[in-house]
């Protein structure tokens, strides 16, 4: 028996299903880059162009790093745009109130963490559908943003060093915006969390089959609450960065962040029903999305038409993922 197994194990593909998926999506990203390079050999592969793509995708990459884990655990987090707006507005108000900028940022992020914690706790402790509970939290946090800002854009009285958080640092000639650095660091941290922690491994188990997870002695409340708390923290951080970048706090910033995060994750192979997906895949998905936007901008495609093209790309991406998942059967 053992001999037969060893023989079987030597042959055959070594990759797991997630590995195959990431490889394919990475191939597609490269193909898009090559296409962009062929169309615009002079302008597409310049630091300016790459920086535009990276900066545009920071909010999504930062927030979706945690949202991907939420999705892996079989839940949806629709509250991130609301949490981001709430924390952004609070951050603005804190700085105006004279709290030092870094302190204000930490407080604002703690508010996001609290919201995420409550969100996840209610979902997991009382076995409620995350779709509804996180939607409630979207309104809840959005409401706080509205009340705090009185529905207005807040700019007056914000100290000048608010901009410090999102400034551009220079390495020689090359200017690197700090949000890009944050995005890279956070993505690396979450790549580590997803690959190397028991927490993430348990999130996969819960997302794949919550009954099995319970039978295996996994605390679903702890894991799901932690995933949502991460999501709250990072959504809040995205809000803080946006306020810092533009020196304006507005209760309608980060529009559609929740859907963008889910789209990037799903494009990167995350299963909306849980149990499958990777942070790396999400990053590839986000880059595909924003690279396409960049190419379309260069082509002069109108912003309205871009929506339709993005929709088509998304559907194609989902179909490719589905084929990998169900037809190739790794």
């Amino acid at each position: 028996m053992t001999e037969r197994n060893n023989a079987a194990r030597r042959s055959g593909l070594k990759l797991s299903a997630n590995g195959v998926q990431n490889l394919v999506m990475f191939g597609i990203l490269i193909a898009i880059w090559i296409a962009g390079f062929i169309m615009y050999p002079k302008t597409f592969v310049t630091w300016d162009s790459i920086r535009t793509i990276l900066v545009a995708s920071t909010s999504v990459i930062i927030t979706a790093s945690a949202v991907t884990l939420v999705l892996i655990s079989g839940n949806l987090d629709l509250s991130v745009a609301g949490v981001g707006a709430m924390s952004g507005v609070l951050f603005g108000l804190f700085t105006i109130a004279g709290i030092p900028v870094w302190m204000a940022a930490i407080l604002a992020i703690l508010c996001g963490a609290a919201s995420g914690f409550l969100n996840g706790f209610i979902i997991s402790r009382f076995n409620q559908p995350s779709f509804i509970i996180s939607l409630v939290f979207k309104y809840f946090t959005g409401g706080i943003a509205l009340i705090a800002s009185n529905g207005l854009s807040i700019a007056a009285g914000m100290p000048g060093n608010v901009k410090d958080i999102a400034q551009t640092v220079f390495i020689g000639e090359m200017g690197i915006p700090l949000p890009v650095v944050y995005a890279i660091v956070i993505a690396l941290i979450f790549l580590f969390i997803q690959n190397k922690t028991v927490f993430a491994s348990q999130a996969y188990a819960i997302g794949s089959n919550i009954k099995t997870a319970r039978f295996s002695g996994i605390s679903t409340v702890k894991v799901i609450t932690a995933a949502f708390t991460f999501s709250g923290i990072l959504a809040a951080f995205s809000g803080v960065i946006i306020v810092s970048r533009f020196s304006v706090a507005d209760c309608s910033m980060l529009p559609g962040l929740e859907t963008d995060c889910i789209i990037a994750a799903v494009l990167g192979g995350t299963d909306i029903n849980g149990g499958r997906g990777t942070v790396l895949g999400m990053i590839i998905g986000a880059l595909i999305l924003f690279t396409l936007t960049q190419i379309m901008n260069l082509l002069g495609v109108k912003i309205y038409d871009q929506q339709i093209i993005k929709g088509i790309v998304l559907i194609l991406g989902i179909l490719v993922n589905d084929t990998i998942r169900n037809k190739i059967r790794v």
């Binding site: 922690t197 028991v198 009954k211 099995t212």
Partner: protein, 496 residues
């Protein structure tokens, strides 16, 4: 050959890395009952899926009534006359019987169903089982009746081949008899039955022909009259002789690992028993007798009144986490929905009950995860591509072995096994028995909950007999064991 309704020629099906069918050829005679037997993973289900168009073959040909057969999907197959009763019945529950039977074959005029045209379907239903009222809701019907409805539906579509995949596994003895009568009646009407089962007694009773598959290869197609007995079939199926008898374990009667006193809850009445070190204790009873409930209560999934001592310590509020910490692991009743995460790989499934073996300073180590998976793949004999294979694509027996591996990773002192071999073929069953025996030899104790008496008798040192939530009797597994007596007790007979 004119009386061959299906001719299967050199069929091969290749999945990623696995050859599920390898050059299979045989023919099926019209109006016969053709039984297909083989271990799990032998390729029976794959073959059926190819015949019904659910999947495409890699190479080879099928002739149906002498013509090349390559259906685009199950729908086309059904319309052309090949109907199928799948293992899990795909019955839509919120419909009436009449609506369900007509589903997909309504004759319509301008999109409106013509009532009269469906009479044929009802005639069919009435012919095979008069007790089913077409106005009844499907959800009110028992599994057996649902099968009858499925058969009626297949007949209404003028099927001349009906495939039955493990039809009797959810049925009671009486219902099985009824199904067999229906099958005989169908045969008399010239309808061909392809019958797949693990229960060899059924093969011996029903079959006109038997085809044995093993590891995707065609081993033999024989007339029933040419098959001497079950043993011969088993030998063909697994290529080795498998029957082993009960071997007593070294029980240390001085040490009680588990003590249960007066365990009572919604389903259980005053259950009291002890589990000794090195013992296999069996619980036998019919479905609903309370086997699973005892397992769940001990494992901390259900609450109960009464006392539970593990290793001499009283357990007040249990939970799976605590049980695992105390060295109690469980192989749950439902393999796919409780035991494994099907969409994940073997590597990810293996450490799920105890991550301590694969972490270093709280961080997962890919290397030790891989080593752990490989260790149990080898130790237990899981047949797979490699440790990265998704568990969904393993056969049932191999999935069960992955679950046992999961439990072993806890280094359990007590292993609870709830229906450990349900839906698993004979060969894999024997392998699982051997794993359990070896485990107990190495110092673990086990409680087996099963509705198969042979299984209980060949493994357990003592047997607890359950009836309607009550523990009627605990008997020793020795020469005095009387199966008649056991059946008497578990069916509610009074004590003699």
């Amino acid at each position: 050959m004119e009386n061959h309704v299906l001719e299967i020629k050199n069929i091969t099906k290749q999945f990623a890395g696995v050859r599920a069918l390898d050059d299979v050829s045989f023919s099926i005679e019209k109006g016969s009952c053709h039984c297909l037997v083989g271990e799990n993973g032998a390729g029976k289900t794959t073959l059926i899926k190819i015949l019904t168009g659910a999947i495409k073959r890699t190479s080879g040909t099928v002739l149906y009534k002498g013509k090349e057969w390559d259906p685009a999907g199950t729908r086309e197959a059904m319309q052309s006359g090949i109907g199928c009763l799948f293992q899990e019945l795909n019955v839509v529950e919120q419909l009436r019987v009449e609506e369900y039977i007509c589903l997909g074959l309504e004759e319509t005029r301008f999109g409106i169903i013509r009532k009269k045209s469906n009479n044929k379907a009802f005639d069919m239903l009435a012919r095979i089982d008069k007790s089913i009222n077409p106005k009844q809701m499907i959800e009110e019907l028992s599994t057996a009746k649902r099968q009858v409805v499925e058969i009626a539906k297949a007949l209404a579509m003028d099927s001349d081949v009906i495939i039955m995949d493990e039809p009797t596994s959810p049925l009671s003895g009486e219902e099985v008899r009824h199904l067999f009568e229906i099958i005989k009646d169908l045969k008399n009407h010239g309808i061909t039955i392809i019958y797949i089962t693990h229960r060899l007694e059924e093969v011996m009773e029903l079959a006109d022909y038997v085809t044995v598959l093993r590891d995707g290869k065609h081993i033999a197609t024989k007339l029933r009259s040419e098959v001497k007995d079950r043993q011969e079939l088993i030998r063909m199926m697994i290529g080795k002789n498998i029957f082993e008898d009960y071997i007593p374990n070294k029980v240390n009667k001085d040490k009680k690992l588990i003590e249960v006193k007066g365990m009572t809850n919604r389903k259980l009445k005053n259950i009291t028993f002890d589990l000794y070190e090195g013992e296999i204790l069996g619980f036998y009873g019919l479905i609903g007798a309370g086997k699973t409930e005892i397992a769940r209560a001990i494992y901390g999934l259900d609450t109960f009144d009464g006392e539970l001592f593990i290793d001499g310590r009283k357990i007040t509020s249990g939970s799976p986490q605590k049980s695992l910490r105390n060295g109690i692991a469980i192989v749950p009743e439902e393999r796919r929905t409780q035991g494994i995460c099907t969409s994940l790989s073997i590597v990810v499934n293996m450490p799920m009950m105890n991550y301590k073996t694969v972490t270093k300073y709280g961080i997962l180590s890919n290397k030790s995860q891989r080593r752990l998976a490989q260790k149990y793949i080898d130790a237990i004999g899981v047949v797979c591509r490699n440790e990265n294979q998704t568990v969904a694509y393993l056969s049932g027996g191999n999935q069960q072995k992955v679950i046992v591996g999961k439990c072993l990773n806890v280094s359990p002192k007590v292993l609870l096994l709830d229906e450990p071999t349900r839906g698993i073929d004979v060969g894999a069953k024997q392998e699982i028995y051997n794993i359990i025996r070896k485990l107990v030899k190495d110092g673990c104790s086990a409680i087996i909950f099963s509705s198969e008496l042979t299984e209980i008798c060949c493994l357990c040192d003592r047997i607890g007999l359950l009836f309607e939530g009550e523990l009627k009797k605990i008997i020793d597994n020795d020469e005095t064991l009387d199966t008649q007596d056991i059946m008497h007790v578990v069916t509610g007979g009074s004590e003699s």
